[in-house]
């Protein structure tokens, strides 16, 4: 690392920072996607339930509720998650582009030999 000139070192540091942000966003996107899929599957399963009485788990106990209320709550949650997912997808695309650009810049700096002068 000692032989790497400051301009290349700066670019590498920036790349690493963006990479960290990217990984954080990608991980959030994955968990939102999983939760949304589970929610959609549950809503689908609820449609097939004839009983009006359903239960919501809270910790280790189940609270009695009714199908309509649960469906309403879940639909609201689904909307919130869908919105969050769209935002995260946009952020992920933006960061991925930024990473590709930064990677290209580092390769150009190394390829052109500019770093040898430390400029």
């Amino acid at each position: 690392m000692q032989n790497i000139p400051p301009n290349v070192q700066n670019e590498i540091t920036q790349f690493q920072q963006v990479e960290q942000q990217y990984q954080m966003i990608a991980s959030q996107l994955q968990s939102v996607t999983v939760e949304l899929k589970e929610l959609e599957d549950t809503l689908e399963a609820l449609k097939a339930v004839s009983e009006e009485e359903v239960y919501k788990s809270a910790g280790s106990i189940l609270f009695k509720s009714d199908k309509a209320t649960v469906e309403e709550d879940m639909t609201k949650r689904k909307e919130t998650l869908s919105l969050r997912k769209t935002t995260l997808e946009r952020q992920e695309t933006r960061l991925r582009t930024k990473l590709q650009e930064s990677q290209k810049k580092i390769q150009e700096l190394i390829g052109s030999g500019k770093f040898a002068q430390g400029s």
Binding site: L39, Y55, S57
Partner: protein
């Protein structure tokens, strides 16, 4: 030297993937065990009489006294912290289906694990070969 560095990076990546698959397998095995116990419990509940005295586990190896009120109905989790009332028979079918799903997933994971292990062995052998070649003195 460049090739050895690349090879070492590839091997480190494979090692991480193998470890992740290993962890997944352990989690799936534990989940499968839990489902098999659930199936056995449901089967026994189905055959029980209403009002039959049983002991319910409350964790830590402790039990509390209780009675089976409705042996023909159970509450089943359908995801997202929501549970619904189902017939015990339907509950058993639902658990059996989940057991089959997890078994399929375990078979797939096991195949991927073997594939990665094989690739790792190939890379390892290739690495040894490269090292041996580098260690040979340059005789002119």
């Amino acid at each position: 030297m460049e090739d050895i560095t690349q090879l070492s990076t590839q091997m480190a990546m494979l090692e991480r993937q193998i470890e992740a698959l290993n962890q997944n397998m352990k989690m799936m095995q534990s989940h499968l065990h839990e489902l098999l116990v659930t199936k056995e419990t449901l089967t026994n509940i189905k055959d029980a009489k209403a009002g039959q005295e049983v002991l319910f586990p409350i964790g830590g190896g402790c039990f509390t006294f209780g009675k089976i009120v409705q042996p023909n109905q159970v509450i089943v989790n359908i995801g997202s912290n929501i549970a619904v009332k189902e017939s015990t028979d339907k509950g058993i079918v639902s658990v059996e289906s989940r057991i089959e799903d997890i078994k399929k997933l375990m078979a797939q994971t096991s195949a991927s694990y073997s594939e990665l292990k094989k690739r790792m062995e190939e890379l390892d052998a290739h690495g040894h070969k490269m090292m041996q070649q580098q260690e040979k003195p340059n005789i002119k």
